[in-house]
Amino acid sequence: MDESPVYRDPMSRHAVRQVLWLGAIATAGFLALMVALAWASSATGGGSLVGRAIDVETKTITRALAQEPPQLDSTRATDQVSLFVLGHIMEGLLRYDASNRLVPGVAERWDVRPDGATFWLRDDARWSDGRPVTAHDFAFAWRTILDPANASEYAFILYYLKNAEAINAGRMPPEALGVTAAGDLVLEVEFERPVAFFDKLVAFAVYFPVREDFYVSRDGRYGADTEDLLYNGPFMMTRWAHGAHVRLEKNPHYWNRDTVMLNVIDMPYVTSDTGAVVNLFKDGSIVSATLGAEQLDDAMKLRWDLGRYSDGSVFYLDFNFRPERLTSNLHLRKALQYVNDPGELVNKVIALPGYQPAVSLFPAWLTGVERSFRQEYPPLTISPDLEKARQHLELAKRELGVAELPPLVLLTGDAPIANKQAEYFQNLFSRALGIEIRIDKQIFKQRLEKMTSGDFDIVAAGWGPDFADPLTYGDLYASWNGNNRGKYNNPELDDQVRIAQNSVDPRTRMDAFGEIQRILIEDAVHLPNYERGNVYVQDPRLKGVVHRAVGTDPDYSQAYLIENP
């Protein structure tokens, strides 16, 4: 039966008292253990007491960091977080101001010509040890990036310099690079071929300076810790507890220090969980937070001031053009193109205010000759048209010689939005056209492996800009581009890319991009999905934070605090 003899046993009373006593002792012991461990961890230098989101007197702001910056050596950095930190602690020849115009950085004046460029450096630019920033520092940095032993992944962005590609391939020594320091304050650059937007390139973090003697003295550990870095930017890194805490303080040696209004940017929280970051903001611990779809209702209820910005990247579905793949058939792609409805995807499924439906490879933020690229070269609109789609499908089936299409494989990653998107397309294509889509979900490295080896029919892909010129997107489908995973090969498109690369006339280049845009749409080379953006909340006492599609984002170098919003 259910009852046990313990019930009516007088012993149970004693046992209960015993248990409760033990419980009290255990709790006390547990707390004592906590205290001991806390003392031990603080004695070994773990963590520190942090303040609240904003301290107006000390001009300190606190924010969260998405992840530990993996690489603060500007010659090897590739990821968003590292570039964000680098953009605050270092400065290149040129930089972007609050209105995203190119303004002088370390260089006071510059002259870009078809065959090369000259930069005249200011004489008051200093490193954080007081020594001046010289043209040698830039020359050394760029040679180091191209040195094949360094294996820099962003080396390709310097290929516009004379001999750069040859040096990176190991065919010429780094000294052969077409960059010379004609004196401490004059930098002469020779181009491999004309590049109209070199000034925009030079503002990118990869082009930042590195001082040779310091680099060598760190013996391979340049960028590993706060003492392994020299700073010439608005801030210095004063604390770096890996994975835990990054602290930036105003750099007193920075030539433009009078425009830097913040004293400290403290980042003692390292997490990529949106919910945790929003909770930190709610608690008043940090100064801003990016919102996910989940937090929007709450944000409106709490009556927060929300902002949004586009992060400049475009996402689309890529096809596999290898001859044995069904997707190399134009009519099949056109059929899919005519059911693709980015509006429905963005407005109903993703439902985040920052996202915009994409209509072209070239996102809306790009500038053309004078106005925005989108205004000067409006893309051909393909509205969803079920009739046309079905006609194309019939043609495709006839050309491929099948009665029913075999299943197509859609390769996707493990991010939540990627998942949603994949399932949405699976259902869309099946419902509208009766095509079975099999979702191949792979995590990061396996997905890259399949993309490179061409083991997919359709893949969900995206691209973020490296510099503020349409070419950063325009050459993606050139037949020689390693990022052209589907191996799309169109000589007409290749020609246009070459024109855009080699010409210096803005009108010619933009016309070429317009042509590329037309080809991509007519040939249904890919299916645009969305242009990504973010919705965020920020403490109203903080002003002057700049968000950019290209460059340091967010940028606190001109930010300031006010007492009463």
Binding site: L296, D298, L306, R308, K348, P353, L411, K420, R431, K441
Partner: protein, 463 residues
């Protein structure tokens, strides 16, 4: 000191002779029969057994009763909470809007004449206003709360560049409810001004004729004209993040989850019991080797080996790798049970009755199965009941790397995982799978409790 009993004469009369000293009150029961009897008497455990049978029936028969397709995405009802059957107004299909332009003539920092260019529907909300000289553009905000008095404008749903572009079409996640819109002027520096123009809008749920036909809500689209009302598919438990019916997904998901959640634990607990009892009983060198191997399996990095299994089993894209996953779960899950059972056996084998049995000539197998394992039943059953949710959630985790069921096949664990993401805004997406998992776990727990009591050798023969 007890009292002296009082006797009477009747006490000294001769007693009657009772020939019926021994009667069989009931047939002799074996261990298993006795256990089953005791289990039936345990009301709670029996109820949970019934609950599990009901779950099984639901799994098999449910999809035939509730005939909604679990993969059908009703994008007009995304993340819908459980509610009454909705209806919608039929309208013409959506066509792109060219918008409105007007030359600004007025000075000022706030737009005037903010109005709806046409009726507000869930397809689109089209706003238009009068322009203002000097504006670099306008920003449109939308909130589900009243924006006054503290200028809590809500979500920035769009931006219009140019002083003369004076319209905006909002299509973002429109639901049939009240919205508060605000239009703010951007000055030359692209900063927003303080004042804003406001408009309250009630959006009406609409669908187009095409959509009704495409999604099969009517047989013949020619019967529909704009202005009619049509009933939309009803989702009693609401829908998920892609508008799929929760009830249908739960019913279909039961198959995978119950299969994995029951079979995998049974298998690896069985494996663990055999392994652990062998190690515990034999002791010595054998025990050491077996246990070191078990340690080795526990220490292997789980994710890495799951990926390896996936590759080894050659699961193609879109194929359900349920069987390989089962194998993987069993291969990596047995050590913990083995350790527990071995610990128990180590304790038990020193007991008196074991040596007594051995002296009587019992074989090892008999000793282990007949005597020792029933003693460890408690531990085994606890492990089993904990293994059930663990297996369900591990399956959900594995679908993250592409193992397990392929989308769009649902499973309770992955539904719970997806529901976590909208836990605060749409709790029903997490609540229903979590509740049904809890119910299953509870049922197994109660059953496990009852089984332990029923199978407990010490209580054998008790009423």
């Amino acid at each position: 000191m007890s009292e002296t009993p009082r006797f009477s004469a009747a006490d000294f009369e001769a007693a009657a002779v009772d020939r019926q000293l021994q009667a069989v009150s009931r047939p002799s029961l074996s261990y298993w029969q006795d256990s089953w009897r005791r289990l039936k008497q345990n009301r709670r455990a029996f109820a949970s057994l019934g609950m599990l049978v009901a779950l099984g029936v639901l799994t098999l028969a449910g999809p035939f009763v509730w005939r909604l397709d679990p993969a059908a995405q009703d994008v007009n009802q995304i993340s819908q909470a459980p509610s009454f059957p909705p209806s919608a107004l039929i309208v013409d299909p959506y066509t792109a809007w060219s918008g409105v332009t007007a030359e600004p003539t007025r000075m000022g920092d706030v737009v005037t004449g903010l109005h709806l260019a046409e009726a507000a529907t869930t397809q689109a909300v089209r706003l238009a206003w009068e322009p203002v000289v000097g504006a670099a553009g306008y920003v449109v905000y939308r909130s589900v709360y009243d924006q006054a008095p503290d200028r809590a404008l809500g979500l920035p749903v769009g931006e219009v560049v140019g002083a003369d572009r004076v319209s905006f079409e909002d299509r973002l996640d429109l639901e049939p409810r009240r919205y508060w819109y605000a239009v703010v002027v951007m000055d030359e520096n692209r900063a927003e001004v303080e004042n804003y123009a406001a408009l309250v809008v009630d959006a009406v749920r609409t669908v187009s004729v095409e959509e009704a036909g495409l999604r099969g809500w009517v047989q013949d689209v020619s019967t529909l004209t704009p202005g009619d009302r049509i009933g939309l598919p009803y989702h009693p438990l609401g829908t998920d993040y892609l508008g799929r019916d929760m009830l249908a997904r739960l019913l279909y998901g039961a198959r995978v989850s119950l299969f994995i959640g029951v079979v995998a634990p049974l298998l690896f607990v069985l494996a663990g019991v055999v392994y652990g009892s062998a190690a515990g009983f034999m002791g010595g060198r054998v025990d050491q080797v077996l246990m070191r191997f078990a340690d080795f399996v526990i220490a292997l990095p789980f994710l890495l080996f799951m990926i390896l299994f996936k590759v080894t089993f050659g699961i193609g894209p879109g194929e359900s790798g349920v069987f390989p996953m089962l194998v993987a779960l069993v291969l990596l899950g047995w050590p913990s049970t083995a350790r527990l059972v071995r610990g128990q056996i180590l304790q038990i084998r020193q007991e008196g009755y074991v040596s007594a049995s051995q002296l009587l000539g019992a074989r090892t197998g008999y000793l282990v199965f007949r005597h020792m394992i029933p003693q460890t039943m408690g531990v085994i059953l606890v492990t089993l009941t904990f293994a059930v949710p663990s297996a369900i959630f591990t399956e959900a985790f594995l679908s993250f790397i592409g193992m397990g069921v392929a989308p769009p096949t649902p499973s309770w664990g992955s539904m719970a995982n997806e529901g976590i993401r909208t836990m605060l805004s749409h709790p029903h997406e997490l609540l229903f799978p979590a509740v049904i998992i809890s119910v299953t776990v509870l049922a197994f727990n109660l059953l496990g409790d009852g089984l332990r009591d029923a199978l407990d050798v010490r209580m054998r023969g008790s009423e």
